[in-house]
């Protein structure tokens, strides 16, 4: 109990410390300054786009990982989850050498007249890169937990594999899909290192809220704290939403017991 209380205090105390430093009199002007609104708007737009990309890429990945068996699958799973353990700034550098002007794919893009690095697109790519494992991980776990029994029933009722996927498999894991997407969104919103390394820090183009906070900390600590609080509120709302999605989804499957 005592250790648990210390742990809880360890998590909560920094938040309290930060809230006590908020300059409430100047709060509204601080968070509505042009640079702040630019950063907030950019963060929300890029994070939502990154979340959509995560769903688009992550659902097929999770289905393949959970429902098929092939040589090297375990290694592939570890590699897919690599961004979870990789320092974000390393991820950013890796992305730079992939999509950068002289990168592996960047050269081809360049030939087509498209520059990826240091653009808003780069922000989205960096965020997708670090957030994707969250979605794949939670969805794959849910797919394994649901099992293949319902899918087998569907097949014996005459449903072809795509129909089974669309009408049985995916609806059964909607709660996990929602909570995984919310987690990905949260991770994308907080992304800093990979963004800075790969996309830079241009106001209105690549300077997301975490970058803005880091920069303001040097020049205007009050603004940094105020924006941090905004980010904390968004994070709390997101966690609550994920929790709610998991619970109502679970209740829907288990029924009113």
């Amino acid at each position: 109990m005592a250790v648990a209380a210390v742990g809880a205090a360890f998590v909560l105390l920094p938040l309290v410390a930060m809230v006590t430093r908020v300059n409430w009199a100047e709060f509204v002007p601080l968070v509505t300054s042009e640079s702040s609104l630019d950063a907030l708007g950019l963060s929300l737009r890029t994070s939502l786009t990154a979340t959509a990309l995560c769903v688009l890429l992550g659902v097929p990945m999770a289905v393949v990982l959970a429902r098929t068996e092939f040589w090297g699958q375990r290694i592939l799973r570890s590699l897919v989850l690599l961004p979870l353990v990789l320092p974000p700034v390393v991820g950013g550098i890796a992305l730079l050498y992939t999509f950068g002007r002289r990168g592996l794919l960047g050269q081809s893009f360049e030939a087509l007249g498209v520059t990826v690095a240091f653009s808003t697109t780069a922000v989205v790519i960096a965020q997708t890169f670090v957030a994707l494992p969250f979605l794949v991980l939670s969805l794959e776990g849910a797919l394994r937990a649901v099992g293949t029994r319902y899918e087998a029933v569907g097949a014996t009722l005459g449903a072809r594999p795509t129909t089974v996927l669309r009408r049985i498999t995916l609806p059964l894991v909607v709660p996990a899909l929602v909570s995984g997407a919310v987690l990905s969104f949260a991770r994308a919103l907080g992304e800093f290192g990979a963004t800075l390394a790969f996309a830079g820090s241009l106001q209105g183009v690549t300077r997301t809220l975490p970058l803005e906070i880091y920069l303001q900390r040097e020049t205007d600590p009050d603004a940094a704290v105020a924006l941090s609080l905004v980010l904390v509120v968004v994070a709390v709302v997101v966690v609550a939403a994920a929790h709610q999605a998991g619970r109502s989804g679970g209740a829907r499957l288990r029924g009113p017991s």
Partner: protein, 380 residues
């Protein structure tokens, strides 16, 4: 649709051939691990055998040579529906949508699929549950909906894997009756542990043991004249196996102490049995009497099973029509108003008062006696 089935699965030691006539329901009996579920999953297309061939009507379900190469229809193209022990209704769909799933998957327009689903829900007696989610209905109702769902996809073969096992005692009889009605004239396989299911639902039974067919025939023949310990246990009758002797009795395959002859069983013979034939002898436990001293002894008084058998109500010690088996009691099990006295594979049903009088307990040596009229011998 008639079914021709034959398949081998090496790792499970499964090697079964089974013909099913069109419109026939076959009960699949057997101990756990005998290969009953393997049979169903191979037919449903969920497990690929090493080799084998199955033809349903004029559709080849699979035709695999050694090495597993050949034709293999995926589950959704087979026209084979499976109903499991758990209803496994899709939890995110209403009962009606569950039943409409099969027709919809085969391209039936939505309105028509719903109309058919409604008709099937009515047929199985749960039309009032159409809008409910599976989590909101009871086990018996869910199993009815699952039956409607399986039938709505218009399968040519229906597989039922212990469809009543998960239901409580009060819900099972009504669902069993409903199944009997919908299974009439349908080609179906029913895996079951319940002899009542076999009698109610099936025209024929097949008994599997260790992955092989050990008995196959009309339900009544297989269960009234069991050929295996398993079938005898299911039918709750004693089965003694032996060889017919020239004296017109069956010498039982019972291992005896050195120097003692195996007991000769006097029985009523069904059909032609010649000396040297292998024969099974079937005796109901209620026709077996128990005594503790050898009945030829002066003080012996055979104890009888109950009022059902007036022929046995007077002592008939050393009666030539009576068979006496020396046994050691292994177990006593109360069953209603009688006690089942077990001695290895043989059992007798005795009144509780007699058990007390004879001081029967596991380890006690006793004699099991039965009249020739109550013992039916048949060729194995």
């Amino acid at each position: 649709m008639s079914l021709e089935f034959s398949a081998q699965v090496g790792v499970r030691g499964f090697d079964v051939s089974l013909p099913v006539a069109a419109g026939e329901t076959v009960a699949v009996l057997g101990p756990n691990g005998a290969g009953k579920s393997t049979l169903l999953t191979v037919l449903a297309g969920l497990l690929r055998p090493d080799s084998g061939r199955a033809v349903l009507g004029d559709r080849v379900l699979f035709d695999l040579g050694t090495g597993g190469r050949g034709r293999w229809l995926p589950p959704h193209e087979r026209g084979v529906s499976m109903l499991a022990q758990d209803a496994l209704l899709f939890p995110h769909l209403s009962a009606l949508e569950n039943v409409a799933f099969g027709p919809r998957s085969r391209g039936v327009p939505r309105a028509e699929a719903r109309r058919r689903a409604t008709a099937w829900l009515e047929r199985v007696g749960v039309s009032e549950l159409a809008a409910r989610r599976p989590a909101e209905i009871s086990g018996g109702q869910a199993q009815r909906v699952a039956v409607a769902r399986a039938l709505a996809s218009e399968p040519e073969l229906l597989l039922l894997d212990e469809p009543l096992a998960a239901l409580d005692v009060s819900a099972a009889p009504a669902v069993r009756r409903m199944l009997r009605d919908v299974l009439a004239d349908r080609t179906a396989l029913v895996v079951t542990h319940d002899i009542l299911d076999a009698f109610t639902l099936a025209d024929r039974v097949v008994v599997l043991e260790a992955g092989c067919v050990v008995d196959l025939g009309p339900t009544r023949d297989v269960l009234d004249r069991p050929r295996t310990r398993f079938a005898a246990g299911l039918a709750a009758v004693n089965l003694l196996i032996g060889t017919v002797t020239a004296a017109g009795v069956v010498r039982a395959d019972i291992r005896m102490p050195p120097g003692e002859a195996a007991p000769d069983i006097r029985a009523r013979f069904l059909g032609d049995l010649a000396a040297g034939d292998r024969a099974g002898v079937c005796i109901r436990p209620s026709a077996v009497s128990v005594s503790v001293a050898h009945p030829t002894d002066a003080d012996a008084a055979p104890i009888h099973s109950g009022p059902r058998d007036p022929a046995l109500t007077h002592p008939r010690a050393a009666d030539p029509e009576q068979t006496m088996l020396p046994v050691t009691v292994t177990d006593l099990e109360p069953r209603g108003d009688l006690v089942r006295v077990r001695a290895g594979d043989v059992a007798a049903d005795v009144a509780p008062g007699r058990v007390a009088d004879l001081d029967l307990a596991p380890g006690v040596h006793a004699w099991f006696g039965f009249a020739a009229a109550d013992a039916i011998a048949y060729r194995l």
